[in-house]
């Protein structure tokens, strides 16, 4: 099956971003296809460059970068939402800005669209 994931919470705000990233790994491991991960609302903070969490904590943003690089994925950050919050640049590796139009396409291609975050 083909999936699109929407992430709406900031990293460390809740478990949503962690769960979304783990879910992405799991569905790929099971042989499904990930069409896109779309970051919206406070989810755009997942794309900030230069985050430095304490060494004994997980690095949510690096986990996304790893997912993207290992699987040649699209991590799409809504440009309007990112610009509104001042995080449009620089973005961490693996993320890129695009419009809601990219989500529209992904929804069209997908069998499942799953939202993470409140």
């Amino acid at each position: 099956m083909k999936y699109t994931l929407i992430v709406k919470d900031a990293p460390y705000q809740s478990q949503a971003a962690d769960t979304a990233c783990r879910f992405a790994h799991a569905l790929i491991a099971e042989g499904h296809e990930l069409a896109q991960v779309f970051f919206y609302f406070e989810g755009v903070f997942n794309a900030v460059a230069n985050a430095e969490p304490p060494q004994d904590d997980r690095h949510v943003i690096n986990n996304w970068t790893k997912l993207a690089l290992e699987n040649e994925l699209e991590l799409v950050v809504c440009s309007t939402a990112a610009q509104r919050r001042g995080v449009a640049k620089p973005l961490a590796t693996g993320f890129r800005l695009d419009t809601l139009g990219r989500l529209v396409e992904a929804v069209s291609l997908s069998d499942r669209v799953i939202t993470f975050g409140s």
Partner: protein
């Protein structure tokens, strides 16, 4: 050619406490603009989004309600409101700024089952 999907947006938050209602609306209208079959549902505190006489400029917020007035022009198929959410809050249909389709929770189940995807705010 895009494959058209049936999408239901569930709006459960009051209009100006966060930017979520505005951004949810942006997403819904973007999907509707590109051939997807989009419906909006207002329930719980989300019903406050479609009240008459909003004056958000007083708290420095942008009015979102004018976008609902023209919902059909944006290609939205249905605008549902959960009946019980209005009753609990003492809101009458005459206080809403648009004509809506009032639905019971049983009808909501049916509406949700008809969708391909459900988005919540």
């Amino acid at each position: 050619m895009l494959v058209s999907k049936r999408c239901l947006f569930i709006n459960r938050h009051a209009p100006y406490g966060s930017s979520h209602p505005q951004e949810t609306l942006d997403m819904a209208y973007a999907l509707a603009a590109f051939e997807h079959r989009v419906s909006l549902l207002f329930m719980d505190d989300g019903v406050y989004q479609i009240l008459h006489n909003q004056a958000p400029a007083m708290i420095g917020m942008k009015e979102i309600s004018h976008a609902f007035r023209a919902w059909e022009d944006y290609g939205i198929e249905h605008l549902y409101v959960e009946k019980a959410s209005l009753e609990i809050r003492g809101i009458g249909v005459e206080e809403l700024l648009v004509n809506v389709c009032l639905v019971s929770s049983t009808e909501l189940h049916e509406i949700m089952e008809q969708q391909d995807f459900i988005f919540s705010d």
